[in-house]
Symmetry: C2
Subunit: 139 residues, 2 copies
DNA sequence: GTCGTCCTACTCGGATAAGGCTTGTCCGAGTCTAATCGG
DNA sequence: CCGATTAGACTCGGACAAGCCTTATCCGAGTAGGACGAC
């Protein structure tokens, strides 16, 4: 499940993707999106460290996207904050579960885990803003 | 994400589905599947309260499936222990998120949430045991 | 043989607790812009 | 008019703390099966 801080991150990143002119200080992001100021700062710094955001220091500074919105995937943002999203502990790779050889549950879960990964990797900020569609057809 | 206790629940339920003759005491389930005894008891009771397991009290008693393995879905087991699995808080329904009207993230997440639900609801214990395939084709 | 009693194995339901993780807060230090001031 | 200084706005990085949720543990009470003994 997507954590609260990750949700904040998504909100802020999407906001930045839609903003013109690009770039905003923590105060603007925090106030407009309901994220506590100090916490927003912490999250934004992590996003910057991951290379998703670009920092401009000093007066008039703030954060902006480091790439075009269609080059930033949902998954990337999630990974930067809470690590790879997994349905199950066992999905963390070999050795994550002692019963791995005998347990058939993780094997059954793998296909949907792969779909989830594909979806999150395949959906960009542009997709969310509605400037382009996700790969799925509209009803 | 599937929690540890839910994982235990799945293991035990799948074990019971595969066991012949049906039914086992907590001690057997606990020892064979690496679940702490007292904790296993607690989890099994919740599964029984949810109608997934059947209880037989007293000496020689224990737990057994209340239905045929192909009539018990993964989702049901998960819901019994940790509630409905959600990608996001916002998926909890109307009112879960204050920004719901303006936020496009949850809207984008909904399709994959639906797929996840469909998968978990559509996969039964039999599917996991390999006695029948999930609806997806084998590679 | 039959009935009743007791022992033992097992679950029920809830109280209780440790620990970790999430969710924040806060602060001194560093960085940059712009305004101000002196020449 | 030009350059240097200063004030202010903003981020950096990390320490620190509250609270909740997960992950258990434990125990008295209830229930059932089987053995054993009395009749």
């Amino acid at each position: 499940m997507i954590r609260n801080d990750t949700d904040y991150a998504l909100r802020m990143v999407v906001y930045l993707a839609g903003r013109n002119p690009p770039g905003a200080a923590t105060a603007e992001l925090s106030a407009g999106l309901g994220v506590p100021h100090g916490f927003a700062q912490k999250i934004l710094r992590r996003l910057a460290a991951a290379g998703i955001l670009k920092v401009r220091l000093g007066r008039g500074g703030g954060f902006s996207l480091n790439r075009k919105p269609d080059r930033v995937s949902l998954r990337e943002v999630i990974v930067a904050i809470q690590g790879p999203p997994r349905l199950n502990r066992c999905m963390a790779g070999p050795g994550a579960c002692a019963l791995q050889t005998s347990c058939k549950i993780s094997a059954s879960l793998k296909p949907i885990q792969r779909k989830l990964d594909a979806f999150l990797s395949g959906t960009s900020l542009s997709d969310i803003l509605g400037r382009a569609r996700p790969r799925r057809k509209a009803p």
